[in-house]
């Protein structure tokens, strides 16, 4: 007994000593660690930060410099072109650039409308928990896993004027039906179509007389429609998954409450669920919007480039042609800078409001 109690006190005291020692050992490093922590995180981050500063911001600065320079051949010439900014002035005088701005605007609007509308529709259908929910969800998302080049090549064949859907118009008898009503057979040229729908030139010309001299039609180039369909097909699944995630955050009680208050099933969606999805719509639109402003590969694969009358030309293709084919590095850089500004125009207000909320 005694020995055991003695032993216990003995072990107690050794434990205490050990504890105090341990705490004294621990204490020093805590202060050290605190100091170390402060220094360490910037130290660890600094390589990445340095790389980002160099490879993003310094390079943006170099691009701006090149766009103002005389560099118009393979020979690097960083001297500033006089008068300042004349490359930009020339670019904004180019018919091709006008067509670019029109196309990228039309494409963005149509593509966003298409992807968001169908993405929401698919998400709402899946929200009804129909049979095979998980299969359909994956099937709709699969196209998003493809690269734009693959999508472009596949849809290029589907919208080939001699093959693809045009053959279907014949074999399904749609053209016979049209012929029966006395119409011309349906043989759209798709990406090779040069017509521009809903041209606003005369209307805009009366409002802003300088626009009368524009040599392009301000409207919807028909050739962009198949590209919008292809891009929409690929990214609708992405919009859908964003909406599915959004729908999961709408509290079930809210819907129940609406139903108890006598809302019809349609009203539950239009008045309760969809308004709750607004933040999702904004973030999806911004992600898709900057994809569409930078689009290059899909159009390059589908239309092979600018297309007749620049109907499928976008800034990305302009930059490629003028930098690498024409070796006009200043002009290519100027177009890139404008592309960057366009993307900033979309992203900066969004980031700003988001950061302010925090």
């Amino acid at each position: 007994m005694n020995s055991s109690t003695a032993g216990s006190t003995d072990t107690n005291s050794t434990a205490q000593i050990a504890k105090s020692r341990l705490s004294s050992i621990r204490e020093k490093p805590t202060r050290k660690r605190h100091f170390f922590d402060r220094l360490l995180s910037p130290l660890i981050l600094s390589p990445a930060m340095t790389l980002i500063v160099i490879f993003v911001y310094v390079f943006i600065a170099i691009t701006v410099w090149v766009s103002l320079s005389n560099w118009g051949t393979l020979k690097i010439d960083m001297s500033i072109r006089q008068p300042l900014g004349v490359t930009y002035q020339q670019m904004f005088m180019m018919t091709r650039w006008h067509a670019n701005l029109r196309n990228v605007f039309v494409f963005t609007v149509l593509f966003l409308t298409f992807s968001l509308a169908f993405g929401l529709l698919l998400a709402l259908l899946l929200d009804r928990k129909l049979i095979g929910y998980s299969i359909f969800r994956n099937v709709f998302l699969f196209p998003y896993a493809l690269s734009f080049i693959v999508t472009g090549v596949a849809w290029r064949w589907i919208f080939n004027p001699e093959k693809g859907v045009n053959v279907l118009f014949d074999t399904l008898g749609i053209n016979k039906l049209i012929a029966a009503f006395g119409g011309p057979p349906l043989h759209p040229g798709w990406v090779t179509d040069t017509s521009v729908l809903f041209s606003l030139n005369t209307w805009l010309g009366t409002m802003f007389p300088p626009l009368k001299s524009l040599s392009i039609q301000l409207g919807i180039p028909m050739a962009l429609i198949p590209v919008v369909i292809a891009a929409g097909w690929q990214l609708t699944g992405f919009a859908m998954s964003m909406y599915i995630a959004g729908l999961a955050t709408v509290p079930h009680e809210l819907r129940e409450a609406a139903r108890i208050d006598g809302a019809s099933e349609l009203q539950v969606y239009t008045k309760v669920v969809i308004p709750q999805l607004n933040p999702v719509t904004v973030s999806t639109a911004i992600i898709l919007g900057h994809v569409s402003l930078k689009i290059f590969d899909l159009i390059f694969a589908m239309a092979g480039g600018a297309g007749p009358g620049f109907v499928t030309d976008v800034p990305g293709i302009f930059v490629f042609d003028y930098t690498f084919k024409a070796t006009r590095y200043n002009l290519g850089a100027a177009a890139s800078v404008i592309m960057l500004l366009l993307v900033c125009l979309i992203i900066v207000p969004y980031l700003w409001t988001n950061l302010r909320k925090r």
Binding site: G72, T73, L74, K75, I76, Q90, M94, T95, R96, N160, P161, E162, G189, V191, T192, T194, S215, G304, G305, A306, G307, P308, G309, F310, D321, Y322, T323, F324, K325, A326, T327, R328
Partner: protein
């Protein structure tokens, strides 16, 4: 403890791994890097023929075949530009003579002059002077050409024309051509095949028509700035071109140039204006010269030969200079020229080769080469800077849709000013 034991080993392995790239660079003897965009069937075979002759002449050299696929070098040029600007040039690379060579590569100092080679090989005696002028700057030569294509050919399906009762002689004028087109259209045949999904193909049609209107001297004047691009003759050429476009196939912008040639082969269209790389397409389809298909100088261009030539340069600070010079010597040899050109579908630049190795078309082309005015092509980057070439392509892209002659010409005038062709 385990980690500590392993550490020296890891360090050693890392050090060795770091050394590997240096080891690869250290052994730079007996190698040759050739940069080109010859990857398609006939082109790759022709390039192989050049390699074969080179290996026979200089055994023991390993050839690094740096090809980048993509029509007309559209993908290869960006790669080459990056390598040149980064100070990592291939020993030798493919280039057209004229502006692309002299303005793009020689002017910024990426090339070594080859006048000593031209002297020692006596090439001055066997090469046409007009051709050598296209690759000469400051009295020095800067590349060796492997072969020459003729750009201004009009190809036709003989059977289709026979059926429509049209006979083509040695020469054809623009008016005669348009009259034939009208006749064919009335007979229900699409007269002209164009495949301008790559815009250069229809630009080629314009270029040929422009030569047919301004003639060889006018051509020289245009690109030396003596004649303006809004000259009445250029406008006339644009109008003729617009008239030709009315006779083209409706699916032109969905086709490539070779698909357009196919339309002629199959008799869906009668004519196509294209360089003689089209000849290879006809022979691939087992069609016979002068039996199934025929050719004539593009309307109005008899006496002019638009040169589309492929040559190789010598890089400044080439990593394997001796091998590269041997390569250029080999390309210029009679043997290489005779092996390469039948496969590529072009003609030799030397006038002393055995003509019997070539078929009827190429013999015709060789005769034209030795007697006609040799002119640089604008569409293929020889006559004018790349920036002008791009501006011409852009102007054509717009013109095929709106057919606005004045806007077209003023765009060219502006581009000529910016790229210092015209003052």
């Amino acid at each position: 403890m385990k980690i500590n034991k392993c550490l020296p080993l890891t360090k050693l392995a890392t050090a060795l791994a770091l050394l590997i790239p240096f080891a690869a660079f250290a052994d730079n003897a007996k190698k040759l890097e050739v940069f080109s965009w010859w990857t398609s069937g006939g082109e790759a075979a022709a390039l192989d023929a050049l390699f074969k002759v080179y290996k026979e002449r200089t055994p023991g050299v390993e050839i690094i075949n740096a090809t980048v696929a993509g029509g007309g070098g559209s993908a290869a040029r960006p790669v080459l530009q990056t390598r040149l600007a980064g100070g990592n040039p291939p020993d030798t690379w493919q280039s057209h003579p004229g502006w692309e060579l002299l303005g793009q590569y020689v002017e910024p100092g990426y090339c070594e002059p080859l006048n000593d080679l031209y002297k020692s090989e006596n090439w001055g005696k066997v090469l046409p002077e007009q051709l050598v002028n296209l690759l000469t700057k400051d009295g020095k030569q800067w590349c060796v050409l492997a072969g020459v294509h003729r750009g201004n050919d009009l190809w036709y399906n003989k059977k289709v024309l026979d059926k429509a009762g049209i006979k083509i002689g040695d020469t054809i004028s623009i008016d005669e051509f348009l009259a034939d087109c009208a006749k064919l259209k009335a007979a229900g045949v699409t007269p002209l095949a164009v495949g301008d999904s790559g815009i250069w193909a229809t630009a080629q049609l314009f270029e040929n028509t422009l030569l047919g209107t301004v003639g060889p001297t006018g051509w020289q004047d245009l690109f030396s700035g003596k004649m303006a691009f809004d000259d009445p003759k250029v406008k006339q050429a644009a109008q003729s071109y617009a008239k030709m476009l009315e006779y083209q196939n409706s699916d032109h912008s969905a086709l490539t140039w070779d698909q357009a040639i196919k339309a002629v082969e199959e008799g869906r269209c009668a004519f196509s204006s294209m360089g003689d790389w089209a000849h290879g397409e006809f022979t691939k389809a087992n069609l016979k010269d002068n039996v199934d298909f025929g050719w004539v100088s593009h309307p109005g261009t008899k006496g002019g030969f638009i040169v589309v030539a492929d040559g190789f340069t010598l890089a400044k600070n080439a990593p394997h200079k001796a091998e590269a010079i041997a390569w250029l010597k080999s390309i210029g040899s009679k043997e290489s020229q005779e092996e390469f050109n039948p496969l590529k579908g072009s003609i030799p630049i030397r006038t002393d080769v055995d003509k019997s190795k070539f078929g009827p078309y190429h013999q015709w082309s060789m005769n034209s080469f030795s007697s006609d005015a040799l002119l640089p092509s604008c569409v293929h980057g020889e006559a004018a800077p790349a920036a002008f070439q791009q501006a011409l392509n852009d102007a054509i892209t717009q013109f095929v849709v709106d057919k606005n002659v004045d806007a077209f010409c003023s765009a060219l005038v502006q581009a000529a000013k910016e790229s210092n062709i015209a003052k």
